[in-house]
């Protein structure tokens, strides 16, 4: 043992050095892709806490822009560390209810049961913080700009259409040659707000083909295909096998280099999931008094992308830690003002100003 003693000391020393702190949280060496533009309402950094740690969890839909927000927010509030783990809307609500996280993100607002579980509807501040489109992503090397009508989409995901050269798909894509490969469907295996939005859309736009109900965060059983965890899991599954199709928030297929289908809206136009399309769709949504939005999946606007949704930020009005309450309030306010400017660069749509001002007063600044 004598000979190995200096070795053990050396390794212990190395361990101590590492633990001692030669690491850093500062990952801002890459210049950000969006600079904050002056002029619009900015939250003064004097309102930020000196030091706080906020942990959040929830929807994978918002994860892409949430990371960007967290990165930019560091300059607005250097003492605050924010962390967001994308585990799915359902899990986010659960974590918030069990108080294992400070804020949650969900693509669907709390329903009556979930609100009751958090101690009553008034306990939780719930505001829509960004909007985006659910893209139908596909992996076909020979086809760019795939066009799909709602009935076709529903048919594919329900298992009624099993090959890419099916008549229905051909009808939507006149003039494009389609391979005869089989279609591999990828859906969400976890409890997902994205699933809820997508299935609600299918039920609204193609009710005779998509007969699964009621509205739920779980993908229905009895359909073909395989489940993967998270929007990035679905995107990875689609990317992995040629001929696959799936659904997730639009930044994921864009990042992975996958095509996103153009969806036929009520007006007959095939629209891509861009920020403009989402904004157009939002104008047709009904805003409830509690700031939840009832989405219209058959919008009249010809430029609207029909599978659009808002996603919500939720946190406790008072968590018992005054410092944390102030920190999260400041973060929420920053997201609803400065954060909205980052939306279009990442293919999200900023919330309309009318909703934003109501949201700001709910947050309480």
């Amino acid at each position: 043992m004598k000979r190995s003693f200096p070795l053990m000391c050396a390794s212990a020393l190395a361990v101590a050095l590492v633990a001692g702190g030669c690491g850093t949280d500062n990952n801002t060496s890459t210049p950000s892709s969006q600079a904050t533009t002056p002029g619009a309402a900015t939250v003064p950094s004097a309102g930020a806490s000196d030091k706080a740690t906020l942990s959040g969890a929830g929807s994978t839909f918002v994860a892409t822009i949430a990371s960007e927000w967290i990165k930019q927010y560091k300059s607005a509030a250097p003492g605050v560390t924010v962390n967001y783990t994308a585990v799915g809307s359902g899990a986010g609500i659960q974590q918030l209810t069990s108080k294992t996280v400070d804020f949650g993100g969900s693509d669907a607002p709390l329903n009556a049961d979930q609100a009751a579980a958090t101690g009553g509807a008034g306990n939780v501040v719930q505001v829509p913080w960004i909007a985006g489109g659910v893209a139908v992503e596909y992996n076909l090397s020979s086809v760019k700009n795939l066009k799909l009508s709602p009935a076709t989409v529903a048919g594919i995901f329900a298992g009624k259409i099993t090959k890419w050269d099916d008549a229905a798909i051909k009808a939507d894509n006149a003039g494009t040659s389609l391979p005869s490969t089989g279609i591999q469907v990828a859906f969400r295996s976890d409890s997902s707000g994205t699933t809820q939005v997508f299935t609600d859309y299918l039920r609204a736009a193609a009710p005779d083909v998509w007969t699964y109900g009621p509205s739920s965060k779980d993908w229905p059983s009895g359909t073909p295909g395989t489940g993967s965890k998270g929007s990035d899991g679905v995107t990875a599954a689609v990317k992995q096998a040629e001929g696959s199709i799936g659904y997730s928030e639009v930044s994921y297929p864009k990042q992975a280099g996958l095509g996103t289908a153009l969806i036929k809206n009520k007006g007959g136009q095939f629209v891509a999931p861009t920020a403009a399309g989402v904004s157009a769709a939002l104008t047709g949504a009904t805003v409830n008094p509690d700031l939840t939005l009832k989405l219209n999946y058959l919008p009249d606007d010809p430029a609207a992308y029909p599978i659009s949704t808002t996603t919500y930020l939720m946190y406790y009005k008072s968590s018992g830690d005054v410092n944390k309450d102030a920190a999260i309030k400041h973060f929420a306010a920053w997201v609803l003002t400065d954060g909205q400017k980052l939306a279009e660069g990442l293919d999200y749509a900023p919330m309309p100003q009318s909703i934003l001002s109501k949201a700001m007063s709910t947050v309480g600044t």
Binding site: M1, S4, V15, V18, A19, G21, C22, G23, T24, D25, N26, N27, T28, S29, T30, S33, T53, S55, A63, T64, S67, E68, I70, K71, K74, T81, N83, Y84, T85, S98, K99, T100, S228, K229, G230, D232, G233, T235, A236, V238, K239, S251, Y252, P253, Q255, A256
Partner: protein, 345 residues
């Protein structure tokens, strides 16, 4: 006397040059086959070439040595094939991980965390995870080693009757516990019921549930191997039992116990499943293992691995390589310590 027996007794054997020659001939036939016929594909060629080479070799053996020898040589070939398959599998895993991991590694990887790293960014690293793993494994070791040694001493020195039998049965049961169930224990009990929330400590508790039976088992084995005459000599000198155990028995068994501890540490360093439910994961550096969710290296690899973005997957490979290197170093070190063990032949 049958022909076969006569042949063996006479010692006509297939000598090595002829064996190699016939195998090569078989391979050549396969090559020709692939050149001439529409058979294609590298994988197909490997399989067919192998079958032809072995077939030719066995045919030659049959011609010179007889049926029994053919069976023997066939089995020999199968054994070597099995070993080759094992080693190829190992090689595939290690080499591929090393290749993809080295490409993604950088100084930044070891010194930066994932704080504020967007999905499109190529920076970011695993410092927070490495720190988390170090803290959690250290805590788990601090919890399980003294406890494990005490339980082992109890079982070997003091244990009597039904309590000892129950403890031994419990340890045996714990050996087979799936790691996810250990995580469930701690999640349901510590994280939820006791309202402690996610933390590095919760992870350490889950890891010590996995480590404890390994340490108890190996310590027990080693302590049992300490010769009785050593103990008796100590008692003859008037040294009380507790001092004997601490100053004579444990030091003698220390090499074996250290091996057991190091193997247990190597095992839990790579555990992911219990950490999912207890440490939960965190993107920034979190030095306090007692409060708040914390990341760890296996968690880092797992969360980056399932992503669709190549930047994330590259980070996963770098993390995987780091993890393999650490675990292998620990295992090799444990084996080196075994050499110093005077109790085992």
């Amino acid at each position: 006397m049958s022909v076969d027996q006569a042949v063996l007794l006479q010692g006509r054997r297939l000598d090595r040059p002829r064996a190699i020659g016939t195998s090569a001939a078989g391979l050549a036939v396969a090559l020709v086959l692939f050149a001439v016929t529409p058979l294609q594909g590298r994988a197909d060629f490997v399989v067919v070439g192998y079958l032809f080479a072995v077939g030719a070799y066995l045919l030659a053996a049959a011609r010179t040595e007889g049926r029994r020898s053919v069976v023997d040589r066939l089995v020999g070939v199968l054994m070597v094939t099995a070993v080759a398959v094992c080693l190829m599998g190992l090689g595939a895993v290690l080499v591929y991980t090393a290749a993809r991991g080295v490409k993604a590694m950088s100084g930044d990887f070891f010194t930066h965390s994932m704080a504020g790293v967007g999905p499109r960014d190529t920076n970011g690293g695993a410092y927070h995870s490495i720190l988390g793993t170090l803290e959690q494994v250290l805590l788990a070791t601090l919890i399980s080693v003294p406890t494990g040694l005490l339980v082992a001493v109890y079982l070997t020195e003091y244990g009597r009757g039904w309590i000892a039998a129950a403890v031994r049965a419990l340890i045996d049961m714990m050996v087979g516990i799936p790691s996810i169930v250990a995580g469930l224990f701690v999640f349901a009990f510590w994280v939820l019921a006791l309202h402690q929330g996610f933390s590095g400590l919760a992870a350490a508790i889950a890891l010590s549930i996995i480590m404890l039976p390994i340490i108890v088992r190996s310590a027990e084995e080693m302590i049992k191997l300490v010769p009785a005459n050593l103990r008796e000599a100590s008692y003859a000198l008037g040294i009380p039992r507790w001092r004997t155990v601490l100053r004579v028995v444990l030091p003698t068994a220390s090499a074996g116990i250290t091996t057991g501890v190091m193997l247990a540490i190597a095992r839990v360093t790579g555990e992911t499943a219990p950490l999912l439910l207890t440490a939960f994961g965190f993107d920034s550096i979190h030095r306090d293992p007692f409060h708040g969710p914390q990341s760890s290296l296996p968690l880092f690899v797992f969360s980056q691995a399932g992503s669709a973005f190549t930047t994330a997957v590259n980070r996963a490979w770098a993390g995987a390589l780091t993890l393999i290197v650490v675990v292998l170093l620990l295992t090799v070190a444990a084996r080196l310590v075994t050499r110093r063990n005077r109790l085992v032949a």
